[in-house]
Protein backbone atom coordinates (compact mmCIF):
# COMPACT_ATOMS: atom_id res chain seq x y z
CA UNK A 1 0.00 0.00 0.00
CA UNK A 2 2.81 2.36 0.88
CA UNK A 3 4.46 1.82 -2.49
CA UNK A 4 1.16 2.72 -4.22
CA UNK A 5 0.78 5.88 -2.13
CA UNK A 6 4.34 6.93 -3.00
CA UNK A 7 3.50 6.80 -6.72
CA UNK A 8 -0.06 8.07 -6.45
CA UNK A 9 0.67 11.14 -8.61
CA UNK A 10 1.47 8.82 -11.53
CA UNK A 11 -1.85 7.05 -11.06
CA UNK A 12 -3.74 10.35 -10.79
CA UNK A 13 -2.08 11.67 -13.96
CA UNK A 14 -3.48 8.69 -15.87
CA UNK A 15 -6.95 8.94 -14.37
CA UNK A 16 -6.24 5.56 -12.77
CA UNK A 17 -8.00 5.37 -9.43
CA UNK A 18 -7.08 3.07 -6.55
CA UNK A 19 -9.42 1.38 -4.09
CA UNK A 20 -8.25 -1.00 -1.36
CA UNK A 21 -10.79 -3.52 -0.04
CA UNK A 22 -10.57 -5.64 3.12
CA UNK A 23 -12.75 -6.98 5.93
CA UNK A 24 -11.59 -4.15 8.22
CA UNK A 25 -14.27 -1.80 9.57
CA UNK A 26 -14.42 1.90 8.57
CA UNK A 27 -13.13 2.74 12.09
CA UNK A 28 -10.02 0.58 11.64
CA UNK A 29 -9.51 1.94 8.13
CA UNK A 30 -9.88 5.52 9.39
CA UNK A 31 -7.19 4.94 12.02
CA UNK A 32 -4.90 3.15 9.56
CA UNK A 33 -5.32 5.73 6.79
CA UNK A 34 -4.67 8.56 9.23
CA UNK A 35 -1.58 6.92 10.69
CA UNK A 36 -0.06 6.01 7.32
CA UNK A 37 -1.19 9.13 5.45
CA UNK A 38 -3.01 7.29 2.66
CA UNK A 39 -5.15 9.42 0.37
CA UNK A 40 -6.82 6.81 -1.83
CA UNK A 41 -10.02 4.92 -0.99
CA UNK A 42 -10.09 2.21 1.68
CA UNK A 43 -13.36 0.30 1.53
CA UNK A 44 -14.83 -1.94 4.23
CA UNK A 45 -16.31 -5.34 3.50
CA UNK A 46 -16.73 -6.79 7.02
CA UNK A 47 -19.15 -9.52 5.90
CA UNK A 48 -16.88 -10.33 2.94
CA UNK A 49 -19.81 -10.06 0.50
CA UNK A 50 -17.85 -8.31 -2.24
CA UNK A 51 -14.72 -10.32 -1.43
CA UNK A 52 -16.81 -13.47 -2.03
CA UNK A 53 -18.35 -12.09 -5.22
CA UNK A 54 -14.83 -11.57 -6.60
CA UNK A 55 -13.90 -15.05 -5.30
CA UNK A 56 -10.91 -13.82 -3.30
CA UNK A 57 -12.13 -15.12 0.06
CA UNK A 58 -9.54 -16.90 2.20
CA UNK A 59 -11.62 -18.61 4.90
CA UNK A 60 -10.08 -18.91 8.34
CA UNK A 61 -6.86 -17.12 7.38
CA UNK A 62 -7.21 -14.29 9.93
CA UNK A 63 -5.23 -14.49 13.20
CA UNK A 64 -8.32 -15.72 15.04
CA UNK A 65 -9.64 -17.79 12.19
CA UNK A 66 -11.64 -14.98 10.59
CA UNK A 67 -12.42 -14.95 6.92
CA UNK A 68 -10.22 -12.44 5.12
CA UNK A 69 -9.42 -11.54 1.53
CA UNK A 70 -6.45 -13.16 -0.14
CA UNK A 71 -4.26 -10.62 -1.98
CA UNK A 72 -5.58 -9.91 -5.46
CA UNK A 73 -5.80 -7.00 -7.88
CA UNK A 74 -8.35 -6.24 -10.60
CA UNK A 75 -7.99 -3.47 -13.16
CA UNK A 76 -11.40 -2.29 -14.36
CA UNK A 77 -11.94 0.18 -17.20
CA UNK A 78 -14.51 2.97 -17.30
CA UNK A 79 -17.11 0.70 -18.91
CA UNK A 80 -16.87 -1.62 -15.88
CA UNK A 81 -15.02 -4.32 -17.79
CA UNK A 82 -12.16 -6.24 -16.18
CA UNK A 83 -8.97 -5.58 -18.16
CA UNK A 84 -6.30 -7.21 -15.98
CA UNK A 85 -6.32 -9.64 -13.06
CA UNK A 86 -3.44 -10.41 -10.74
CA UNK A 87 -3.85 -13.40 -8.42
CA UNK A 88 -0.43 -14.67 -7.31
CA UNK A 89 0.25 -17.97 -5.63
CA UNK A 90 1.94 -16.52 -2.52
CA UNK A 91 0.57 -14.11 0.09
CA UNK A 92 3.97 -12.43 0.06
CA UNK A 93 3.78 -11.55 -3.63
CA UNK A 94 1.52 -8.68 -4.63
CA UNK A 95 1.15 -6.33 -7.57
CA UNK A 96 3.68 -3.51 -7.66
CA UNK A 97 2.77 0.04 -8.66
CA UNK A 98 5.22 0.07 -11.56
CA UNK A 99 3.79 -3.18 -12.88
CA UNK A 100 0.23 -1.79 -12.77
CA UNK A 101 1.23 1.48 -14.47
CA UNK A 102 2.95 -0.52 -17.21
CA UNK A 103 -0.10 -2.73 -17.70
CA UNK A 104 -2.33 0.34 -17.89
CA UNK A 105 -0.07 2.11 -20.41
CA UNK A 106 0.08 -1.04 -22.55
CA UNK A 107 -3.72 -1.34 -22.49
CA UNK A 108 -4.15 2.29 -23.50
CA UNK A 109 -1.62 1.93 -26.33
CA UNK A 110 -3.04 -1.35 -27.63
CA UNK A 111 -6.10 -1.23 -29.90
CA UNK A 112 -9.17 -2.21 -27.95
CA UNK A 113 -9.35 -5.97 -27.59
CA UNK A 114 -5.96 -6.63 -29.19
CA UNK A 115 -4.44 -7.67 -25.89
CA UNK A 116 -6.94 -10.35 -25.06
Amino acid sequence: MRSFQERLAEFDARGLRLAAISVDSPAINREYVRKEGYTFAFLSDPAAQVIRRYDVLHPGAGPEGQQVARPGEFLIDSTGTVRWVNLTESVLVRARPGQVLQVFDDLVRAPLGANR
Partner: protein, 149 residues
Amino acid sequence: MKRRWNASLWVGFLVMLAAAFSYIPIFARIPATRDFPWVNLTLFATGAALIGLGLTRAFRRPDAYRGKVAAVVLAALGAGVLGFFLVGTFHFARQLPQSAGAPRVGQKAPEFSLLDAGGNPVALSSLLSSSVGGRQTRAILLIFYRGFW
Protein backbone atom coordinates in the same frame (compact mmCIF):
# COMPACT_ATOMS: atom_id res chain seq x y z
CA MET B 1 48.32 -24.76 24.39
CA LYS B 2 45.15 -22.78 24.97
CA ARG B 3 42.52 -23.63 22.40
CA ARG B 4 40.90 -20.78 20.48
CA TRP B 5 37.26 -19.80 20.63
CA ASN B 6 35.50 -21.16 17.53
CA ALA B 7 33.98 -17.84 16.48
CA SER B 8 32.80 -18.83 13.01
CA LEU B 9 30.25 -21.22 14.54
CA TRP B 10 28.54 -18.47 16.48
CA VAL B 11 28.80 -15.85 13.77
CA GLY B 12 27.42 -18.39 11.28
CA PHE B 13 24.47 -19.16 13.52
CA LEU B 14 23.72 -15.46 14.06
CA VAL B 15 23.82 -14.92 10.29
CA MET B 16 21.30 -17.75 9.86
CA LEU B 17 19.01 -16.21 12.48
CA ALA B 18 19.30 -12.86 10.70
CA ALA B 19 18.50 -14.61 7.41
CA ALA B 20 15.28 -16.06 8.83
CA PHE B 21 14.01 -13.05 10.70
CA SER B 22 14.93 -10.26 8.28
CA TYR B 23 12.60 -11.35 5.48
CA ILE B 24 9.22 -10.21 6.78
CA PRO B 25 10.30 -6.91 8.42
CA ILE B 26 12.88 -5.88 5.80
CA PHE B 27 13.26 -7.77 2.54
CA ALA B 28 9.60 -8.61 1.93
CA ARG B 29 9.01 -4.82 1.88
CA ILE B 30 11.54 -4.19 -0.87
CA PRO B 31 10.16 -5.11 -4.31
CA ALA B 32 13.49 -6.44 -5.63
CA THR B 33 13.93 -8.92 -2.76
CA ARG B 34 10.31 -9.81 -2.05
CA ASP B 35 8.98 -12.21 -4.67
CA PHE B 36 11.91 -14.57 -4.38
CA PRO B 37 13.87 -14.26 -1.08
CA TRP B 38 17.30 -14.42 -2.69
CA VAL B 39 18.96 -12.13 -0.14
CA ASN B 40 17.75 -14.33 2.71
CA LEU B 41 18.81 -17.51 0.94
CA THR B 42 22.25 -15.96 0.32
CA LEU B 43 22.49 -15.11 4.02
CA PHE B 44 21.52 -18.69 4.87
CA ALA B 45 24.24 -20.01 2.56
CA THR B 46 26.79 -17.68 4.17
CA GLY B 47 25.74 -18.73 7.67
CA ALA B 48 25.84 -22.41 6.73
CA ALA B 49 29.33 -22.00 5.25
CA LEU B 50 30.57 -20.35 8.45
CA ILE B 51 29.07 -23.11 10.58
CA GLY B 52 30.65 -25.64 8.21
CA LEU B 53 34.02 -23.96 8.72
CA GLY B 54 33.47 -24.04 12.50
CA LEU B 55 32.53 -27.74 12.37
CA THR B 56 35.66 -28.54 10.36
CA ARG B 57 37.86 -26.64 12.80
CA ALA B 58 36.28 -28.25 15.86
CA PHE B 59 36.66 -31.81 14.58
CA ARG B 60 39.77 -31.69 12.37
CA ARG B 61 41.84 -29.43 14.60
CA PRO B 62 40.52 -30.07 18.11
CA ASP B 63 43.96 -29.16 19.47
CA ALA B 64 43.60 -25.57 18.19
CA TYR B 65 39.83 -24.94 18.34
CA ARG B 66 37.11 -25.54 20.89
CA GLY B 67 33.45 -26.09 20.25
CA LYS B 68 32.78 -29.72 19.28
CA VAL B 69 29.50 -29.80 21.18
CA ALA B 70 28.55 -26.26 20.18
CA ALA B 71 29.32 -27.11 16.55
CA VAL B 72 26.89 -30.02 16.49
CA VAL B 73 24.19 -28.14 18.39
CA LEU B 74 24.45 -24.97 16.29
CA ALA B 75 24.58 -26.90 13.02
CA ALA B 76 21.37 -28.71 14.00
CA LEU B 77 19.67 -25.50 15.14
CA GLY B 78 20.79 -23.72 11.97
CA ALA B 79 19.31 -26.49 9.83
CA GLY B 80 16.10 -26.18 11.85
CA VAL B 81 15.93 -22.41 11.29
CA LEU B 82 16.48 -22.91 7.55
CA GLY B 83 13.76 -25.57 7.45
CA PHE B 84 11.35 -23.29 9.30
CA PHE B 85 12.05 -20.48 6.81
CA LEU B 86 11.66 -22.68 3.73
CA VAL B 87 8.41 -24.21 4.94
CA GLY B 88 7.06 -20.78 5.87
CA THR B 89 7.88 -18.99 2.64
CA PHE B 90 7.48 -21.78 0.11
CA HIS B 91 4.67 -23.78 1.65
CA PHE B 92 2.46 -21.86 4.10
CA ALA B 93 2.63 -18.57 2.20
CA ARG B 94 1.30 -20.42 -0.85
CA GLN B 95 -1.74 -22.02 0.74
CA LEU B 96 -4.04 -19.63 -1.10
CA PRO B 97 -7.49 -20.48 -2.41
CA GLN B 98 -7.78 -21.13 -6.15
CA SER B 99 -10.08 -18.16 -6.83
CA ALA B 100 -11.26 -19.97 -9.95
CA GLY B 101 -14.51 -18.00 -9.91
CA ALA B 102 -12.85 -14.58 -9.87
CA PRO B 103 -13.94 -12.17 -12.63
CA ARG B 104 -11.83 -12.70 -15.75
CA VAL B 105 -10.44 -10.30 -18.32
CA GLY B 106 -13.24 -9.18 -20.61
CA GLN B 107 -16.00 -9.86 -18.08
CA LYS B 108 -18.07 -7.19 -16.35
CA ALA B 109 -16.77 -6.44 -12.86
CA PRO B 110 -19.46 -7.17 -10.25
CA GLU B 111 -21.01 -3.92 -9.01
CA PHE B 112 -20.78 -3.20 -5.27
CA SER B 113 -21.33 -0.52 -2.67
CA LEU B 114 -19.12 -0.42 0.42
CA LEU B 115 -18.38 2.08 3.19
CA ASP B 116 -15.19 4.09 2.90
CA ALA B 117 -13.01 5.11 5.86
CA GLY B 118 -15.34 8.06 6.46
CA GLY B 119 -18.35 5.76 6.69
CA ASN B 120 -19.82 6.94 3.37
CA PRO B 121 -21.21 4.41 0.89
CA VAL B 122 -19.11 4.18 -2.28
CA ALA B 123 -20.25 2.24 -5.36
CA LEU B 124 -17.95 0.89 -8.05
CA SER B 125 -20.03 2.62 -10.72
CA SER B 126 -19.77 5.98 -8.92
CA LEU B 127 -15.98 5.59 -8.58
CA LEU B 128 -15.75 4.94 -12.33
CA SER B 129 -17.90 7.93 -13.28
CA SER B 130 -16.26 10.51 -10.99
CA SER B 131 -12.93 12.28 -11.29
CA VAL B 132 -9.62 11.54 -9.58
CA GLY B 133 -6.99 14.22 -8.97
CA GLY B 134 -8.97 16.58 -11.24
CA ARG B 135 -9.13 14.07 -14.10
CA GLN B 136 -11.93 11.89 -15.33
CA THR B 137 -11.46 8.33 -14.06
CA ARG B 138 -10.33 6.08 -16.91
CA ALA B 139 -9.88 2.93 -14.88
CA ILE B 140 -9.79 1.69 -11.33
CA LEU B 141 -7.52 -0.79 -9.62
CA LEU B 142 -9.24 -2.80 -6.90
CA ILE B 143 -6.67 -4.01 -4.38
CA PHE B 144 -7.96 -6.80 -2.18
CA TYR B 145 -5.79 -7.24 0.91
CA ARG B 146 -5.83 -9.22 4.11
CA GLY B 147 -6.48 -6.27 6.40
CA PHE B 148 -5.13 -5.31 9.77
CA TRP B 149 -8.05 -6.29 11.97
